[in-house]
Amino acid sequence: MSLDAIPIHLIPPGEPGLTGNAPPLLHELLEMVNRLLASGETAAIDLSALPLTPADLDWLRERLGEGEIAVTLLANGESTLAETGCPGIWWVTHHNEQGVVTSQFLEVAFVPELVKAHPDDVALGRDHLESMMADL
C-alpha cells in the first residue's frame, strides 16, 4: 500500500486574518524614508521577528505595490530583493536551499546593502582582470 492511500486532510487552524499589526509598520517606514532623504541613513524592519500573519503580509505587500526593479541573488538558496511601489523601500526575502523562507526584511535604502559590491571584492575582481589582461 502506498502512503498516498492514507487520506490526510490538512485543515489550516482557522485561517488567521489581519491582526492590525501591519498598519503601524507603514508609519515606521515613512519615518525611515524621511531619514533616508534627509541624511542618507539606511534602516530595516525584520518581518520574521514580528507577529504578522500571512494575511498581514499580503496586506502590506498589496499596499506597498511592485516597483520596477527586482534583484535575484543565488547564494545558499535564492534571495529576492524587490523594489516596492515606493522607491527606496525594498522587500527582501531569503530562502534556504530547500526553498523555505528563512528571513524577511523591509529595507529602506537607495540600493540594498547586499546588492553593493564590497571594496575588497572589487579589489579581487581588479586583480583577476589584471591577470587576465596580462595573459592576453
Binding site: L10, D46, L73, N96, V100
Partner: protein, 359 residues
C-alpha cells in the same frame, strides 16, 4: 590558517553576499535588530579563528552528528569548521598520544582564551572510572581544561543537565558540567540532540561581541530557549479549542489536532523547534505527528513517561485502595468508640451542657 574568517570562507567558495545573508538570518533568529546582523557579519568576517577544544565525555555522539551531518555543506557546518578545532576525537585525524599532545599544546598556547565545548555528562561513580580517555577520568580532564578556558559551552542535554546517563537510577553517578565547574561562564545548549543553529548562534555572538548571549535561569540562551514549544506550536489553536488526537492514527491525528493527550510535553519545554524546525526547515517532531518529549529540559527522561499527558498522574496511584480501606476501618473504629461513649454517658446520667453543643 590564522587569517580572518572571511578569507577562509572565500577559500571554501562562500561569497561575501552568502555570508551577509546568513548573518542577517542568524540575527533575525536570535531576535537581534537587523543592524546587528550587519555588525555581526563585519565582526565575524574580520575575526580570527578562535581556538576551540571539544571534549566528549559520557555521550552518544548524537550532538556531534547534529552539528556536522547536514545533507549539504551548510554555513552552520562551515562556521563550525572555521573555528580552529584543536581537539575533537571524532573529527580529528590524530589519535592516541598524538591527540593528547595536540590538546595540551592548544591549551598551553591559548591559555585563558580558548572556548571549551563539552558534550556528554561526567560520571563520578567509582572515582570516575566509568568513562576515561587515555587512562584519565572525565572529571580530571574537565577540571584541567576548564581552568584555562575563556568560556564553556555545554553541548546537549547530557553536558547541560546530565541527560540520559543521569536518568534514574543514574548508575554511573553522572553530573552536568555546571555541577563541577563553578568559576567560568557556562552556556547550556540542551537538546537531545541540540539544534545546530543554536550552536552557531552562540559562536557568532561570541565572535561578534566577545561575550556569551543573554542566558535564562537554566543557563540557556534566551534567544532560542525563551519560549515554550507549546507557545509557538502551530497546533496550538486546536489545544485552545479542546480538539485532541486520542491515538496516533485516529481521525484527530489525521486532522492534525493537538497531541496533548498523547503525552506532548510542549507546554513545559523551552526550545526553538517550533520556529527553527529541523533538517533545514523541513519539519519538526510535532509537525511529523509525535508529541514533544521535552528533550531540552533537565531530567526529561524521568518526567513520568513520554506518552502520559501532563495533567495525569506521573506514577500509578498505589496507596489509594489501601487508604480507602484504612479510612473505612478508622470510621468503623471511631463509630464503636462513639457508641461506647454514648452508652457510658447514658449509664452515668450525664447531662448535656452548652459547652458540649458549642464544640
Amino acid at each position: 590558517m590564522q587569517g580572518p574568517l572571511i578569507d577562509t570562507l572565500a577559500r571554501r567558495g562562500v561569497t561575501r553576499r552568502t555570508f551577509l545573508k546568513y548573518c542577517a538570518t542568524l540575527a533575525s533568529m536570535m531576535a537581534l535588530p537587523p543592524s546587528v546582523g550587519r555588525a555581526m557579519a563585519e565582526a565575524m568576517a574580520a575575526a580570527k579563528r578562535p581556538s576551540v577544544i571539544w571534549l566528549p565525555f559520557q555521550e552518544c555522539t548524537g550532538c556531534t552528528e547534529s552539528i556536522t551531518r547536514s545533507h549539504s555543506p551548510t554555513i552552520e557546518g562551515m562556521i563550525f569548521d572555521m573555528v580552529s578545532l584543536d581537539y575533537q576525537e571524532t573529527l580529528m585525524a590524530a589519535a592516541g598520544h598524538q591527540a593528547e599532545e595536540a590538546r595540551h599544546a592548544a591549551m598551553k598556547e591559548n591559555h585563558g582564551k580558548y572556548l571549551l565545548i563539552v558534550d556528554g555528562s561526567i560520571p563520578l561513580g567509582i572515582d570516575g572510572a566509568y568513562s576515561c580517555i587515555g587512562g584519565r577520568s572525565n572529571l580530571d580532564i574537565l577540571k584541567e581544561a576548564a581552568e584555562g578556558a575563556a568560556a564553556i559551552v555545554a553541548m546537549g542535554s547530557c553536558a547541560s543537565f546530565g541527560g540520559i546517563p543521569k536518568a534514574n537510577p543514574n548508575p554511573t553517578g553522572a553530573v552536568s558540567v555546571s555541577d563541577i565547574v563553578k568559576d567560568k561562564p557556562i552556556v547550556n545548549i540542551p537538546g537531545c540532540p541540540p539544534i545546530p543553529v543554536v550552536m552557531t548562534g552562540v559562536l557568532a555572538h561570541y565572535l561578534t561581541f566577545g561575550s556569551l548571549p543573554e542566558l535564562d535561569a537554566q543557563g540557556r540562551p534566551k534567544a532560542f530557549f525563551g519560549e515554550t514549544i507549546h507557545d509557538r506550536c502551530y497546533r496550538r489553536p486546536f489545544y485552545d479549542q479542546g480538539k485532541f488526537a486520542k491515538t496516533f492514527d485516529d481521525e484527530g491525528a489525521r486532522q492534525g489536532w493537538c497531541l496533548f493527550e498523547l503525552g506532548c510535553k510542549g507546554p513545559v519545554t523551552h526550545n526553538a523547534c517550533a520556529t527553527v524546525k529541523w533538517n533545514g526547515g523541513t519539519s519538526w517532531p510535532v509537525e511529523s505527528g509525535h508529541g514533544c518529549i521535552g528533550c531540552s529540559e533537565p531530567d526529561f527522561w524521568d518526567g513520568g513517561g513520554f506518552y502520559k499527558a501532563l495533567s495525569v498522574p506521573a506514577d500509578p496511584l498505589k496507596i489509594g485502595a489501601a487508604a480507602a480501606v484504612a479510612g473505612a476501618a478508622a470510621g468503623v473504629a471511631v463509630s464503636f468508640a462513639n457508641r461506647a461513649k454514648k452508652k457510658a454517658a447514658k449509664a452515668a446520667h450525664e447531662t448535656t451542657t452548652l459547652d458540649d453543643l458549642e464544640k
